[in-house]
């Protein structure tokens, strides 16, 4: 393989350096830059809007792409005159707890479906995935009935218990793929050496499946952080809202959009998830490689 790779590179190095560099720029950097520009433009828009004063926001003649006198007024308003911090806490708690619950359940079910042989394992696997595809717009009515029965409206547990309905199927399905990609022999030799199933799973399989587990966890965290519909329906009190709902409901009053505050909240609310991804994005891609693609 090394010789092949060398042979492949050989003709290139004979070309003049500038031509190579230009080709590289054209093939790699230009498309990437274009992509990033388009992707990030709305974020630039949010940032620029969040630091504009209200006068500038309402000025028709000014170029809306730039700001003349930046101000942190909207951020101040957000922190001290809305329940933004409370929403942030709610969202964090709900996202972390429901991710933990879903990850635990799907580790067990994913392992069972990937490794243990029992009747109907395949159809259960399919069933789990199909439940992920049932849209929440269809499920929220019956779920609301359930929540009412348990008297959980305006309680964070309403969300903590309903989010796993779409997190577990997805994580399980991702993890089945990942567990299947780990050679069975590793575990079998552990079993022969006297470990029981649980030990084999925890000591041998889990460390190997770490990228998969991480990416499932990140995915679950993102989905529950951004979830809108259930949070909108189950959380009526201003105090108990999550960021995606609270921001949109409290900062848009009728026809009146509080653009500055809205955009400030949008940026602040997505920082945790953005940080998470910037640290673990390589794991995420690696986890997807085995889990989603081969599953």
């Amino acid at each position: 393989m090394a010789t092949l790779a060398q042979r492949r590179r050989a003709p290139k190095s004979e070309r003049p350096f500038t031509e190579r560099a230009a080709g590289r720029w054209l093939r790699i950097y230009v498309p990437i830059l274009l992509f990033i520009l388009i992707t990030l433009f709305p974020f630039y828009w949010m940032a620029i809007t969040s630091i504009k004063s209200d006068q500038e926001l309402l000025d028709h003649d000014q170029n809306p792409m730039f700001v003349i006198v930046p101000t942190l007024y909207h951020y101040h308003y957000l922190f001290f005159e809305t329940h933004f911090l409370q929403w942030l806490t709610n969202t964090t708690i709900v996202a972390i707890v429901s991710t933990a619950i879903s990850l635990f359940c799907s580790l067990l079910s994913g392992y069972a479906l990937a490794r243990l042989r029992f009747r109907g394992a395949n159809s259960i696997g399919w069933g789990i995935f199909v439940t992920y595809l049932v849209p929440p717009t269809l499920l929220f009515l019956p779920l609301a009935l359930l929540i009412r029965t348990f008297h959980l409206f305006n309680n964070l547990f309403a969300l903590i218990l309903t989010y796993p309905t779409f997190l577990i199927p997805f994580c399980t399905w991702l993890l089945i793929g990942y567990f299947k990609s780990i050679p069975r022999e590793l575990e079998e030799s552990a079993l022969v050496d006297g470990a029981d199933r649980i030990q084999a799973m925890v000591r041998i399989v889990m460390p190997l499946a770490l990228p998969g587990i991480l990416s499932a966890g990140m995915f679950a965290f993102t989905l529950s952080w951004n979830e809108f519909l259930y949070a909108l329906i189950f959380m009526g009190d201003t105090q108990s809202k999550t960021i995606p709902v609270g921001v949109v409901q409290e900062l848009i009053r009728g026809d009146d959009f509080f653009w500055g505050q809205l955009m400030a909240a949008a940026l602040l609310g997505s920082i945790p998830v953005a940080l998470l991804y910037s640290f673990f994005v390589e794991y995420f891609v690696a986890g997807m490689t085995a889990g989603a693609v081969k599953g």
């Binding site: 393989m1 992920y132 949008a266 085995a290």
Partner: protein, 207 residues
């Protein structure tokens, strides 16, 4: 599964009965379905959903593959670029959509300002008014939101192509494009097509 199966069952039952708030209904067969399918508005929304799902999924697939191919090569600062490209996907759909709403706005929106300042249009365009433009706008937002996931999955698929396969293709004189084509067909198509189904049915309906 029970968590999902019970509400789903309840829903099927409700759709077959004439229950109203506070009243336990009786079984009425498919009457509700007949009623709904007789409504012109419903059929129209159905048509809109199909246009929305298909156009945004196709666009996401094309752009996602392009993104994966661009990001597949090794270059400096790759991790940062990955994270940046992934931002729209991890961004809360509700607030992201609000930002776009502002961009599209015909009063203070950036797009209208840009179009007017280069004198392409005289009057502000109602991107979210009536006609085909609103659909295009909504599809744009959805594509912006979902392309990253497609890209990462395609990237994952690309990475799972064994390197020696590409080396062999290159030493046999295959161009970059043709090796993309043949490897892509065998390695990337099955997962990405499966994913496009997933994306179309589930994610489009939520954001």
């Amino acid at each position: 599964m029970g968590v999902v199966a019970y509400p789903l069952g309840l829903e099927i039952w409700l759709s077959l009965s004439n229950a109203a708030p506070g009243v336990d209904g009786d079984y009425v067969g498919l009457a509700n379905y007949r009623y709904v399918l007789g409504q012109a508005v419903y059929l129209h929304t159905l048509e809109n959903s199909f246009i929305y799902i298909f156009s945004s999924t196709i666009l996401k697939a094309i752009l996602g593959v392009a993104m994966a191919l661009a990001l597949g090569a090794a270059f400096r600062g790759r991790r940062l670029v990955y994270a940046l490209c992934f931002l729209p996907f991890v961004f809360p759909g509700s607030v992201g959509t609000t930002a776009w709403y502002y961009l599209f706005s015909n009063v203070h929106g950036a797009f209208n300002y840009a179009l007017q300042s280069v004198h392409l249009v005289q009057q502000p365009i109602a991107f979210l008014g009536s006609g085909p433009l609103p659909m295009a706008s909504v599809v744009t937002v959805n594509v912006w939101h979902g392309t990253a996931l497609f890209g990462v999955l395609c990237l994952a698929a690309l990475r799972s192509i064994p390197g020696d396969l590409l080396d062999a293709a290159a030493s046999d004189g295959a161009s970059c494009a043709s090796s993309c084509r043949s490897c892509g067909r065998h390695w990337c198509w099955p997962p990405s097509s499966r994913w496009s189904g997933t994306s179309a049915t589930s994610r489009s309906s939520t954001c």
